[in-house]
Amino acid sequence: MMSILKHKPILLLVGLIAATFVLAGCDSSSSDKDSDEMVLRHALFTKLKGLDPGNMRDVYSVTVASQICETLYQYHFLKRPYEIVPLLAEQMPQISDDFLTYVIKIKKGVYFQDDKCFPGGRGRELKAEDFVFAVKRIANIKYLSQNWSMFDGKIVGLDEFREYTKGCESEDDVDYAREVEGLTASDEHTLVIKLKKTWPQLVGTALADIATAPIAKEAVFSYGKDIVSHPVGTGPFVLKVWHRGSYVELVRNPKFRGEPYPGEGEASDAEAGYLDDAGKIMPFADRVVWTVIEEYQPAWLLFLQGKLDNSPIPKDNYNEAITETRELTPVMKQRNIRLKKFLDPSTFWLGFNMQDPVLGSNKPLRRAISYAIDRDKFIEIFFNGRHLVAHGFIAPLMDSYDPNIKEKGYARYDPEKARELLKEAEQIHGRALPELKMAIPGTDSFSRQLGQFLKRYVTAVGLDVEVEYMDWPTYMEKVNTRSAQMFSSGVRASIPDAEDFLGMFYSKYWAPGSNRFNYLNPEFDRLYEKIEVMFDSPERKELYRKMELLVLEDCPAAFLNHRVVFALHHDWYKNYKPHAFAYGMSKYRRIDMKKRAEYKKLLKTIK
């Protein structure tokens, strides 16, 4: 042996390789280099799909694109309940007496960012025609926008424009100068929208949605299909670098007009420091950086290293961060980390396909499954007890949420009652109930645990269930083709109005639309058509609650939970007020550079 070990080259080689790795890898890193700049650093938990506002629906793409492109209206940063306020619009729209015509004045002096698509590379002034173009582009069928359903059948002449585009050879052949009666620019700074029927959510839904954010038509024509990576907007930041799949960097838009930080908010905002920057011109940050981190461990470690400003709490690190009383642990406090808890406008459920021959015609069976699930245990196991039991489907954040919904008992855990209902269900079915199939999107450990949990409780009352785990596209296809029997799913509202939730049960939206339960109740449909054209009022709120009860009585789903977000951020990350409809938020954020520098020193003492 010793004679072999005398041949030191082998050992030297191993040592050399190890040394090379250590020297190569030495973490001489990163955030030190930008100590003079105010840089916001965030993680994205999935890859961006594109930055073209007209054709995006995923939350991550919208998060980034909404820093670059702006909408006519936005939800106020500080005020609660959420209030819609002008952004690119000069003021709130003038609405005709019949509620069918909206006249919107556009702010003057707003410029697109400089880009080589403009003559001389200098961005031109934003005009009302740019909004007309944005909506017509969504209507263009060759563009294949995911946002068309928002406008389908709503604006005078727009459906006809869409019909016209069907005859065009390609996206580029469409004549955008073709007139649409209900969508015109009466002058350079005035947009006129004429509706076919009343659409109370026009401002809150469509005109505050990134889909209608103007993107320079010069860029659209110049970049063609590459427009997804060349967004040219009017927002506070411009795209500097996008390493697809790994990193996005925005820098301050030198042509941005500057917006004052809001001076009004909730009563507690001053004490919380959210009004410290009132009246100051935004944005504050020089750069905004997102790193795509699809695994939670590296994101959590980077957060603790101070290389990310904020972070959700990974399930596996929950006990490291949060005590049994739902407060920060001493370890987190030592690092001056702050905790934000807030309601998310979301609901999750185990859905039933109402067109399924076994489930659809057997209400006792559906209710038995609902009573069989212990939601408190579910929330304790999967969400560390953070979430709320969903007694209905309208999320608690909504104005129309019924505070007494729990008393109605639709979501209670009652296995005895479930067993009784199953006997009734068997009689209706005429023989022993067959094995039911449950579709779970995902094959990861969380999905499998979820499937096992639901199966355990449903089988405990005497039903046979097979859980089918599948990738997301397969799951979507199964649900969209109405072939899933039971399916786990959820939704997050995009506006502070429960219409998003109610639309999930309207029979005209059957799968592949948003009514994935394929639920049909003529009385519900009648009420939905009524509330769809009603402006906010106590009467409408009552109708919302009535409609919710209609659905709960029919039980097209076992509603499980509403998400409550626990988010952490470093104390240097300022103006981080939770916002459920948080798009374009980077302009409000500020970094306390002194505190960030202090954290680096603190880390050395902790290590």
Partner: protein
């Protein structure tokens, strides 16, 4: 040999055709219609139909000159893979991912091969000793530990706790900096299986008559091991090593994902999870070609290292 090479290259045609057919059948017939997914939530039927038109999903599958399979075949032959679902040209994605993937997998590959072959020679030489038993034990233990555990452990201690390496990719790091730790983890995780394999190969050679003869003639250990044993063990080594080379191109899925390395492994898994058939097709096709080419190189190498092998 030239005739052999030409003949082997001609064999690639049915192989590549088979690969193209297989990917087409898997993703078009078995995988189902992806139009609904592209259309997004709440899409109208007309939008879905338009997507089918745009992507050619409404064309006949096989029996037409303009069928989906013929178009699939044409795009592969011309290396014009079109655009991915996010509208970026696929070839651009592949070009961008090759560098980071190779930067990670090449050092891993050489590190594992050099270290494991060297150590295998040593432990084979001291076969039966406590050193050999310890090495086998460590190898089995290393093979039993899940790959993910190496990653989590390495990232937590070497990067986060001790700060020797960066935790994650950042564009202001050099490539050497951000691939160092994942490459090191890859080497350590890969040593167990490789060392056991090469040890077995070396042991087979060590027991040969010519080794005993060489020692009997008084040759020194270094000469016997490196000149005779290593050379004669080259056939299985070459088989394992050269056939592993095409997979270097595919990168390392888990390492790239955990360390944010924007390589092809990451691209491939993203494409599979989003059913980006166009990217999967391109990657599978290129991999198949590389595999066939390196298979040929393996055979040529056999004849170079072993005079008993002739290519006819």
């Amino acid at each position: 040999m030239t005739a052999y090479i030409i003949r082997r290259l001609l064999y690639t045609i049915p192989i590549v055709f088979g690969v193209l057919m297989l990917t087409f059948v898997l993703f078009t017939l078995v995988g189902g219609d992806i139009s609904l997914e592209i259309a997004g939530k709440g899409a109208t039927q007309e939008t879905i139909d338009e997507i089918r038109e745009e992507y050619g999903f409404n064309k006949p599958l096989f029996l037409a000159w303009d069928s989906q399979f013929i178009n699939h075949f044409k795009s592969a032959l011309t290396f014009d893979f079109g655009r991915a679902r996010d509208r970026e040209p696929i070839i651009g994605k592949i070009k961008r991912g090759v560098g980071p993937s190779l930067a990670l997998t090449v050092p891993m590959f050489f590190g594992v091969v050099i270290i494991s072959v060297s150590l295998a020679l040593v432990v084979a030489f001291v076969h039966g000793s406590i050193w050999d038993i310890s090495a086998v034990f460590i190898c089995v233990a290393g093979m039993s530990i899940p790959y993910l555990s190496f990653i989590l452990f390495g990232q937590y201690f070497l990067a986060y706790k001790w700060g020797v390496f960066p935790v994650f990719f950042s564009p202001d790091l050099t490539m050497a900096q951000y691939v160092a730790l994942p490459a090191l983890i890859g080497i350590v995780a890969g040593l167990g299986g490789n060392l056991r394999f090469y040890r077995t190969v070396m042991l087979d050679e060590m027991r040969s008559d010519y080794v005993r003869t060489a020692f009997a003639k008084g040759l020194d250990t270094k000469r016997v091991l490196f000149k005779h044993v290593l050379k004669n063990a080259m056939i299985p080594i070459i088989t394992r090593v050269v056939l592993a080379i095409p997979f270097l191109f595919l990168g390392s899925l888990l390492l790239e994902r955990f360390f944010g390395i924007p390589g092809l492994g990451y691209l491939m898994i993203g494409a599979i999870s989003s059913r980006d058939y166009f990217v999967i097709n391109a990657m599978t096709y290129i991999s198949a070609i590389l595999f066939v080419v390196f298979n040929l190189i393996t055979d040529i190498c056999y004849s170079l290292v072993d005079p008993r092998v002739s290519l006819e």
